[in-house]
């Protein structure tokens, strides 16, 4: 086992090193696409923390991305913060939102929670459009021009690594096992002395930080945001599909899902722009029917692998 572990760590080191030097050689498109993959890994990994582990499906997770994007942009444009600090601010604002929303909503069970989260996203989008003074309303918010793509590439890459590392730490801890008992049987978990509400809230806070930071970074990179560009339901759906495809409740499932779906998406998008949504729907149906546990979930069960795959 230790040899396998060493091999995995070695391979990871090589991949990380390659990604570190990549911007020096890669094309503009390549760097931008890799940056996007980092973002999707961070988003899918974060969704996995709450929904993959506790089974509480968040249908509005893009709300944290959107609020992070707005918080970050306002901090940059109005308060004059530097973008790395503003990104941190976006993460913190997303966590505060998670606390405020999680407190009532995590008492809801199953589908009711999912729908409440869907509502949250719509409410936020409406609020952001309404408070024009702060957010620019429907006209959006422009940031001063700045070419920081390479720096953002590194920070987003760091975020993807951080989310994956946190997932690893949680899944191998008793805290992670307790989160899973909520998915498995919440009533039994309570009866066994596990304070399920506090555990859910903890996981929810953790799952909001990554999207908040990613939102602020994306806003800085693109230089312009508007309500429909940062609160789209399709981003939540994409996170969910990535995790379901890769394997929910595993460490590498969201990573695999993010990479695989992004690549598929890019190819299809470029060649057949109109069937792109159709393809996504088809993947959801295929995954749910043929391998509800996703690629890694299936391997995990078949070959009795640990969840740390």
């Amino acid at each position: 086992m230790t040899r396998a572990r060493g091999a995995v760590l070695g391979a990871l080191a090589v991949v990380v090193a390659a990604l570190v030097v990549y911007p020096a050689f890669g094309t503009g498109y390549g760097v931008r696409a890799t940056l996007q993959v980092f973002m999707w890994i961070a988003l899918a990994g974060s969704w996995n923390l709450i929904s993959g582990l506790t089974g509480y499906v968040s249908f509005g997770h893009v709300a944290f991305f959107g609020i992070g994007a707005y918080a970050g942009s306002i901090l940059i444009a109005t308060a004059g913060w530097s973008w790395p600090l503003a990104a941190l601010g976006g993460g913190i604002v997303a966590c505060v939102l998670a606390l405020v929303i999680g407190y009532p909503c995590l008492r809801l069970k199953g589908p009711y929670f999912a729908i409440a989260m869907l509502g949250l996203n719509e409410v936020l989008r409406a609020l952001v459009s309404y408070f024009e003074g702060l957010t620019g309303g429907g006209n959006g918010l422009s940031l001063p021009t700045l070419d920081a793509t390479t720096s953002i590439y590194y920070v987003m890459g760091g975020l993807a690594i951080a989310v994956t590392a946190v997932t690893y730490l949680i899944i191998t801890s008793r805290f992670g096992l307790r989160l899973m008992t909520i998915r498995e049987d919440e009533i039994a978990a309570e009866a066994m002395g596990i304070d399920t509400f506090r555990h859910k809230l903890g996981a929810f806070l953790l799952s909001a930080a990554g999207p908040g930071i990613a939102g602020a970074l994306t806003a800085r990179d693109q230089g312009y945001i508007e309500p429909i560009s940062v609160f789209p339901l399709v981003v939540t759906v994409t996170m969910i599909v990535m995790v379901l495809f890769g394997g929910k409740g595993t460490v590498w499932g969201p990573v695999l899902g993010a990479i695989a779906l992004f690549v598929i998406q890019e190819i299809v998008w470029a060649r057949y722009p109109y069937v792109h949504p159709l393809l996504f729907g088809a993947i959801i149906i295929a995954v749910v029917l043929a391998m509800p546990r996703g690629v890694l979930g299936l391997l995990q069960l078949k070959y009795r692998l640990p969840r740390t795959i």
């Binding site: 008793r174 096992l177 899973m180 998915r183 039994a188 309570e190 009866a191 066994m192 002395g193």
Partner: protein, 233 residues
């Protein structure tokens, strides 16, 4: 001082009084039985004690403190453990993880205790197997030792004998006696009268949510109200 006191506990669902002004008290280090026909309120009473159902009236005291109205997890951490009528292991956690997950404190120590518990019920070879893949009897044992991992002073067992073969049952009953000898208190719901009569020192009988009798098994068996509740007049 009694370990657990239930005073005038009531709980209704719609117009049905599932538990109606039930009072009972449990002394430390004894085994109690709770019997009654189907729908007499046994499981609801368990749920009221463990906080899974709120009380409409009355109160529950554990070690002298009110516990009714607390969250189930707080009640559990104060020292009340339970099993369920329908098995509720965590199916996608391994047998060992099912035990680890309820522990606090150093992990190595928890793992050592967990393995010892699995050995105690002869499941040590299945420590790494998902609990959902175990047989019914094995899951029942995992659920039983999972309760013990929390080191409870009071253990509520909901039909421990149901669906368990004779050999396994004897092991379970021996284990329950040993827990009593360690000073723990056990309250068990059971339909198997042989089990109740052989194990329990005091039996409470519920019928239509009300406590209709209480006493040593021998006397309970001869009690007219009890016979009537089970067989009709």
């Amino acid at each position: 001082m009694s370990l657990l006191t239930v005073e005038g506990a009531s709980r209704s669902f719609g117009g049905i009084a599932a538990v109606n002004r039930v009072s009972l008290s449990l002394e430390p280090g004894r085994i109690y039985g709770l019997i009654g026909p189907n729908g007499s309120g046994k499981t609801t009473l368990f749920n009221c004690i463990t906080g899974l159902e709120r009380l409409d009236g009355g109160q529950v005291r554990f070690k002298g403190e009110r516990i009714d109205g607390l969250k189930p997890s707080r009640i559990a951490r104060q020292g009340i453990g339970r099993t369920f009528q329908v098995i509720r292991v965590f199916p996608e956690l391994t047998a060992l993880e099912n035990l680890l997950v309820v522990t606090r404190g150093p992990r190595a120590e928890a793992e050592r205790r967990g393995r010892a518990m699995l050995e105690f019920v002869k499941l040590e070879r299945l420590a790494g197997e998902y609990a959902g893949n175990l047989s019914y009897g094995q899951q029942k044992l995992v659920e039983f030792v999972r309760v013990l991992m929390t080191d409870p002073a009071l253990i509520l067992l909901d039909e421990p004998a149901a669906g368990v073969n004779r050999t396994l049952l004897n092991d379970l009953l021996a284990a329950v006696s040993r827990l009593r000898d360690e000073g723990r208190t056990i309250l068990l719901v059971e339909h198997d009268m042989k089990v109740v009569m052989g194990l329990c020192e005091t039996v409470f009988v519920l019928d239509h949510g009300e406590k209709i009798a209480e006493g040593p098994p021998g006397l309970i068996q001869a009690d007219e109200r009890v016979i009537e509740a089970y067989f009709g007049r």
